[in-house]
């Protein structure tokens, strides 16, 4: 946990509704996919905030909104006390240097025609940082930081394994001395032992450069190891947020309870009581009324169908949105 609770990023009522093309020609559709639907949270300097939730619940969309890779339908993203949503292009460009992303697929995210050195230097070139010679030096320095040989600068990405490519991605993300790195499933595509190496690297870099992370993952054990706090998303909303201990030892939302009960066994002898959810994630095209979870919730009441629950603070930093929480 960071010592100071200085807010680096503040997200308020963030929404992204993707328009859906109508099946009738020339008729404008008024349907939309509510991928992110009113999300609020803070990220403190130096912490790691984990984001978990079922496939399709809006995690990646939220990441892209924070970085302003896509424009929100509504809401505010404040980074170091400045609202990114209303910034002019020039200002946004220079602020965005401080927010970088690392993506899931280490194979797809590197242009195969560029050499590793060019790939890592690309952000420097785009932002016109440093001269050509000093860029080369910086690339070598970055390769060393992520534990790769500096001779690799002259090779192509296909010559590297998944773990090595993810290191290249991380070097690229570090090039502009960011303060916030959003990692979208950075280790999901990797082998267990390689995964451990990349996670160790991310932790070590965080200490070395005082980085703040938003860490999206579907592996709850990885999240526990990496994160100070976690946010649990369900269908475009954050349903629970708090420190890992708060949520793990005392989950409040029925979805969070089901999620944690679904972690695979830690040994062949463990007896697990599973809460198996019925059905699949409802479509964000027609989200259910009231609480988005009510159709699958094992303890839903009448009010859940009618009214969306508000976020209630249960202890310190722990908040949950469920009618059963007081």
């Amino acid at each position: 946990m960071p010592t100071s609770m200085e807010t680096l990023l503040e997200v308020k009522n963030l929404k992204k509704h993707f328009p859906v093309s109508s099946s009738i020609p020339f008729k404008k559709s008024n349907q939309s996919v509510k991928a992110v639907d009113g999300v609020n949270f803070n990220v403190y300097s130096g912490e790691t905030l984990g984001v978990v939730g079922e496939s399709g619940c809006g995690k990646s969309t939220m990441a892209r909104l924070i970085n302003q890779l896509i424009k929100p339908t509504d809401g505010v993203v404040t980074f170091k006390n400045k609202n990114l949503v209303e910034m002019d292009a020039e200002m946004l460009r220079s602020t965005r240097k401080k927010i970088q992303m690392v993506f899931q697929d280490p194979y797809a995210s590197l242009d195969p025609r560029l050499k590793v050195g060019q790939l890592i230097a690309e952000p420097l070139v785009i932002h016109k940082v440093e001269t050509k010679e000093s860029r080369r030096k910086r690339v070598e320095e970055l390769l060393e930081i992520v534990g790769l040989n500096k001779r690799f600068a002259d090779r192509y990405p296909h010559e590297f394994s998944g773990g090595q490519r993810q290191r290249i991605n991380i070097a690229r993300a570090l090039a502009l001395n960011p303060e916030l790195i959003i990692c979208d499933e950075p280790v999901s595509a990797l082998d267990v032992s390689v995964q451990a190496q990349v996670i160790n690297l991310l932790k070590q870099l965080q200490d070395q450069f005082q980085l703040t992370y938003i860490f999206i993952s579907h592996d709850l054990n990885v999240v526990r190891y990496m994160c100070d706090r976690i946010a649990v998303m369900y269908l475009g909303k954050i349903v629970e947020i708090g420190t890992y201990e708060e949520i793990y030892s005392n989950p409040q939302h029925p979805y969070t309870k089901a999620l944690f009960s679904a972690i695979p066994k830690k040994n062949p002898f463990e007896q697990k009581e599973r809460i198996i959810l019925k059905g699949t994630v409802p479509s964000p095209l027609n989200p259910p009324s009231g609480c988005h979870f009510h159709e699958r919730c094992p303890v839903a009441m009448d009010i859940c169908k009618a009214k969306a629950p508000k976020a209630i603070t249960t202890e310190n930093t722990h908040q949950a949105s469920c009618h059963l929480v007081h």
Binding site: G53, A196, Y225, L259, P264, K265, K266, N267, P268, I276
Partner: protein, 343 residues
């Protein structure tokens, strides 16, 4: 002793590209028992998928070749069957859920079409009967409103639902053996739990054995009776899951167990991992394939390949050092945080 229904003996598979030969599978043997599940784990590229696809003889014939071994199913060697006989085995006796879902569902046909096609290829049913059966199968794998969903295309399904459709297709003809290659890796834990539950249910109903390939040991603890650890195209350890968990014998297995992040992992200590990378399988490996990464390698490991031996019944390992004291001494200082090693 339980009765085995599938016996893989000394399987060898090679890929050829120009003059380069990759020995992807190099002498793999195992037996699958009736009503039991076997889990195959091992590093990426260790030959798990190639082993599985070779059992069904579905490796790309242009570049790959099964160069040795036997695959015995009900007294017949599958490697000696004609293509026609082999087609009957696929789906009817053994079916497979492939690692890459995009290769197994055709985007231009509806889900129903693909299911009905599979059913009719194996069973003498009318179109109408096959459709009825398809709806039943979708219902069985937990797809809501199957009568409607049957007319939809794969892209209209979420990832988890597509995975269930593939399971439905694999189960269409009541196979006795199901090979599932990373069936839940792309899914989140709640959907994974749903699908594993489903597979267990079906196993009981259909009296089926499963070969489960995964990199998640949690899935193995959940589903399997036996476990096979592969490294560089070879089996380096095999045992009952309980025995492997309590008493892993191979240094690679130790590394694998230590690299898994568990609930009790201290989040201030670095994770254990296995430094280095596996050997290039296009070169001949003289000694132990793990030698470059093994913290205990001795001269003999560089020069002589360790044989798969069975120090205790039912628990096999391929490593030169297997007396109790050797093992304990060496394991004491295994990997980074030796204190987390189970005793």
């Amino acid at each position: 002793m339980s009765e085995s229904i599938l016996n893989v003996k000394n399987l060898q598979v090679e890929f050829k590209s120009g003059s380069i030969i990759t020995r992807a599978v190099n002498g793999v043997s195992f037996a699958l028992n009736k009503n039991e599940n076997i889990g195959i784990v091992g590093e990426s590229g260790s030959g798990k998928s190639v082993t599985a696809t070779s059992i069904l003889r579905l490796i790309p014939s242009s570049s790959a070749k099964i160069t040795g071994g036997e695959i015995i199913l009900n007294g017949r060697d599958l490697l000696k069957l004609s293509n026609r006989e082999m087609r009957k085995v696929r789906g009817n006796e053994i079916s497979m859920i492939f690692q890459d879902p995009s290769t197994s569902l055709n985007p231009v046909f509806t889900v129903g079409n693909q299911l009905i096609e599979t059913i009719r290829a194996h069973k003498k049913l009318t179109k109408k009967e096959a459709k009825q059966r398809a709806i039943e199968l979708l219902e069985l794998v937990g797809i809501p409103a199957p009568e409607k969903r049957i007319n939809m295309y794969p892209h209209e399904f979420s990832g988890g639902m597509r995975q269930r459709v593939m399971i439905a297709i694999a189960l269409a003809c009541d196979p006795k053996i199901l090979i599932a290659d990373e069936p839940t890796t792309a899914l989140d834990v709640t959907v994974q739990a749903q699908i594993l539950n489903l597979m267990k249910d079906l196993q009981e109903k259909l009296d089926m054995s499963i070969i489960m390939i995964t990199h998640d040991l949690g899935v193995v603890w959940e589903m399997c009776d036996q476990i096979l650890v592969m490294y560089a195209g070879r089996v380096v350890e095999s045992a009952k899951v309980e025995d492997l968990y309590h008493n892993p014998l191979h240094p690679y297995t130790w590394g694998l167990l230590e690299s898994q992040i568990t609930e009790s992992q201290d989040s201030h200590a670095p994770l254990a991992s296995i430094p280095g990378s596996p050997p290039d399988l296009s070169y001949e490996i003289k000694g132990c394939p793990f030698v470059d990464r093994c913290p205990y390698a001795q001269d003999i490991c560089h020069n002589e390949a360790p044989k798969l031996i069975e120090p205790t019944e039912g628990h096999a390992v391929a490593c030169h050092f297997q007396t109790e004291t050797e093992k304990l001494e060496r394991r004491e200082n295994a990997y980074i945080n030796g204190d987390t090693i189970r005793s």
